[in-house]
Every structure is written in C-alpha cells, then in structure tokens.
C-alpha cells in the first residue's frame, strides 16, 4: 500500500473544525440537559403516576428506545418541513436528540429510584413530607447519585450521537469531514483527526461530569461508587486503584 499521509489540510481547515466542534458541543449541552429533565419526568411518571400515565410514559419510552435516532430525526425534520414549519435543522436535531435520550435516561433513573430502599420513603412520609417532597428531597437525590456512572455513559453517547446530524445538514464536526474530503480528497486523514477530536471531547465530558458529581454529592462515597458494577460500557476499575479513602 503506497499511501502518503498528508495532514496539511489542518492548516487551512482548523477554523472550520473548531466551528463544527463548537456546534457539536452546543447541541450536546442543550440535548443533554433537556433529555435529562425529560427523562426524570418520565421516570417519575412511570413510578408514581396513575395507571394511564404510566402506560403512556412506558409506551413513549419503548418507542424511543426501539427506533433509531436518525429515523426519529428524519421523521421530525422532514415531517415538520412537509407541514410547512421551517424549523432550523439544528433545532430539530436537538429536539430529536433530547427525546431520544430521555427514554434511556428514564430507565436509568427509574432503576435508581427502584434501588432506593422503601424504608427511606416510609421514614420521609412519616415525617409528614408529601409525595412530591419525598421524591424531590429523599428519593431522587439518592437515585441519581447511585446511577451517576450510567448517566455519564449515556451523556457521552448523546455527545457522540450529534455526529449523525450532518445528515440533516447541520454543520457540526462530522460534516466538516465531508467538506475536507470533497476539496482535498484527504477524507481518511480528515476523519482520523475528527475521531481524535471526539475522543478528547468524550474524555473532557467525563472529567466535567465527575467534577459535577463531586460538587453535587459531597459525601465520601466515591470509593463505594467506584466498586459499583453498574457501568455499561465502561471498564471496571482495578482494585489497586481504590484510594485509601479516609473513613473516620
């Protein structure tokens, strides 16, 4: 194979890459927050709602989790255009992403809610707290703390999923690759560079989320959290990495 790698395009195209990166980051942030909030609402609906509410929420979650994101996006984007609403592609993209991730977030949070011992709910109710107060102050904080590793993985997936939005002409990072390919025929190198940028973004996102965890949940339970095996897709830490962890 005689191939001369040529990364010189970076010199000319790094502004485009940065612009694309920025759009990807923006989309991720909005979709993550929206999807998370929607997912929590769905989880509460599925655990606390009336039978009709539960069935609707379950149906919604099943639908979004068993159809591909890109089909959901096409449905939304092309559908809205056909109805005459000229939504900007990026808006449709963010909504589709948020809706898609809400299904997964719902299941993660729901598993967390179910894992909170019923004695906690009993004790809180016996102190006079209303059902919504119990949920907000006692159940959800513990649920989210327990499910945090799974949430981090889900968030990284959302960030990576922004990549497909180039299919509805959103000028995000992956779209720049095609741009570079058509003008310099260095598609292979371009996508290698883009892959590297996504890797850095994934790593950065995990770092930021871990920081948020330390701020939101100041308890010294990191040691026990690291032992939790509920981390689909993330390698389990080796035992030697567990800190000596001061337990007074």
């Amino acid at each position: 194979m005689n191939y001369n790698f040529d990364f010189s395009f970076i010199g000319q195209y790094w502004p485009s890459l940065l612009d694309g990166l920025w759009i990807s980051a923006e989309m991720s942030a909005v979709a993550l927050i929206g999807g998370f909030l929607l997912g929590v609402m769905l989880a509460v609906a599925r655990t606390q709602g009336s039978p009709t509410v539960r069935r609707l929420a379950t149906g919604f979650v099943d639908l979004t989790r068993n159809t591909p994101l890109i089909v959901q996006t096409f449905w939304l984007f092309f559908g809205l255009s056909a109805l005459g609403f000229l939504v900007p592609a990026i808006a449709a993209a963010v909504v589709a992403l948020a809706v898609n991730t809400s299904g997964y977030t719902c299941e993660i949070v729901r598993a967390g809610i179910d894992s909170v011992h019923y004695g906690q709910k009993e004790a809180a109710a016996c102190l006079g707290l209303s059902r919504s107060q119990v949920m907000r102050n006692v159940v959800l904080p513990q649920a989210i703390e327990k499910m945090y590793p799974a949430l981090i993985s889900q968030f990284v997936l959302v960030m990576l999923a922004t990549s497909i939005m180039s299919q509805i002409s959103v000028e995000e990072l992956t779209a720049v690759g095609l741009q570079i390919q058509t003008r310099t025929f260095r598609g292979f190198e371009a996508y290698l560079v883009i892959a590297a940028i996504y890797l850095v973004m994934s790593w950065l996102l995990r770092v930021i989320m871990n920081l948020c965890y330390n701020v939101a949940f100041p308890r010294q339970r990191h040691i026990s959290q690291a032992r939790s095996t509920f981390r689909p897709g993330a390698p389990a830490p080796s035992d030697t990495s567990i800190a000596t962890g001061a337990r007074p």
Partner: protein
C-alpha cells in the same frame, strides 16, 4: 398505491430492511469473533493485555459510529480495494460491536466470584481449562440478557451506515421520501419496521434478566 406510496416503492423500502438485517447479523457475528478475545484478555493477569484491550474499548467507545464508518470506507479505498459499502459498514459494525460486547462480557466474567477461580485452580486445572470448563459457561448464562439487549443497539445502529451510502432501511426510506415527499407515512413505516425488529429483542432481554435474577436468589 397505499397512502400515496406505490407498492413498488414499498418493496424498495422493504429491501432496505432486508439489508439492515444482514448488516446486523454481520455486526453481531464479527463483534462476537473479535469481542470474545477482547473480553477474555481484558480479564487476564497480564497488565499489558489489560491495557491494550482497555485502550481498544475506550478508543472505539469514544468515537461516533458514523466517523468509524467513514474511516473504514476511506481506509478501504486508499488501501487500493474497490469494495461495496457493505464491507466498510460490516467492518465498522464489527469494530463497534466488539468493543461493547467485549466490555459487557468482561463484566460478566468478572461477575463470577473469585472463589470459583480458586476452587478450580485448586483442583489442578490449567488456566485455559478453568476458563473453558468453569468460568465461561457460568459467565455465558449471566451474559445472555445484556447481549440480547445489545443486539437491539446493533440493529438500530446499522442505520448509521447511511452516511457511506449503504442501502439499508434508513437509506431506502430516505430515497423514497425524496421522491414522494410523504415523510410522516414513510418514516413512521420505517420506524415501525425497526420497532418490529427491536422490541421483541428488548422484551426478551428483559424477561431473561428477570429469570436470571430469580435463579440467582436460590
């Protein structure tokens, strides 16, 4: 003509669905062939092997699948081969599945209590025998629910192959949409076809997991 789409066009869409199934199968088989060593080496005593497999998994899991597809596609053409998009998509799906399946299965192997290793080693079984006769059979049982669950992801994620022009269900439905401009009809139909493929697997995975939990309480 059903709902503004001709039967010929419907047939076109269904052909795409057929290729979706084929690519899913390719992805699963490839992912198993590559993923099993990844899982086993990921639990080995050799730190080098663990770092290599861990690095491989982190690498694939940190890159979007469309980008992996592009890299495979352009990689094949600059290597001098003129192959259909199916090959590139197949390789990409294999890489993707192997990383995730490898991680899932590694977790299942590590879920087998250390005492099983100790007991079998004390019976003078060699490393490979311990794995094949004691550990892997047990890990296999534990692995079935999440593996079936991941199959759903494979089927859905074949839709990303559309970026390299692979003729799957998403591609065929978009083509028809471009000529009929009936997105709600077409993409709802496509969604329903994906749902019909994925939902049974999701339900199966859930039921298997419940069954496994009940058994393990004994």
């Amino acid at each position: 003509m059903i709902m503004g789409v001709t039967s010929g066009q419907w047939f076109f869409i269904l052909q795409g669905a057929g290729w979706t199934l084929i690519l899913s199968l390719l992805g699963f088989v490839g992912g198993t062939v590559v993923g099993l060593p990844v899982a086993v080496f990921g639990t080995s005593n050799s730190r080098v092997l663990r770092i290599l497999t861990g690095g491989y998994v982190k690498l694939i899991q940190g890159i979007p699948l469309p980008v992996v597809m592009f890299i495979c596609y352009f990689g094949i053409s600059i290597a001098g081969y003129d192959l259909p998009a199916l090959v590139a998509a197949g390789i990409a799906m294999t890489l993707y599945s192997s990383a995730f399946l490898g991680e899932i299965w590694r977790g299942c192997i590590e879920a087998i209590p250390k005492t099983q290793w100790e007991a079998s080693e004390s019976l003078a079984l060699g490393k490979i025998q311990v794995l094949t006769s004691v550990i892997l059979p047990q890990a296999f049982r534990v692995a079935i629910p999440p593996t079936v669950g991941f199959l759903v992801q494979i089927v859905k994620n074949t839709s990303y192959a559309v970026v390299i022009g692979f003729f799957d269900l998403t591609y065929s439905s978009r083509v028809i949409n471009n000529s009929t401009f009936k997105p709600f009809v077409i993409f709802t139909a496509a969604a329903l076809i994906y749902f019909a493929m994925c939902y049974p697997l999701s339900v199966l995975s859930y039921r298997l997991e419940r069954k496994l939990k009940r058994h393990s309480r004994l």
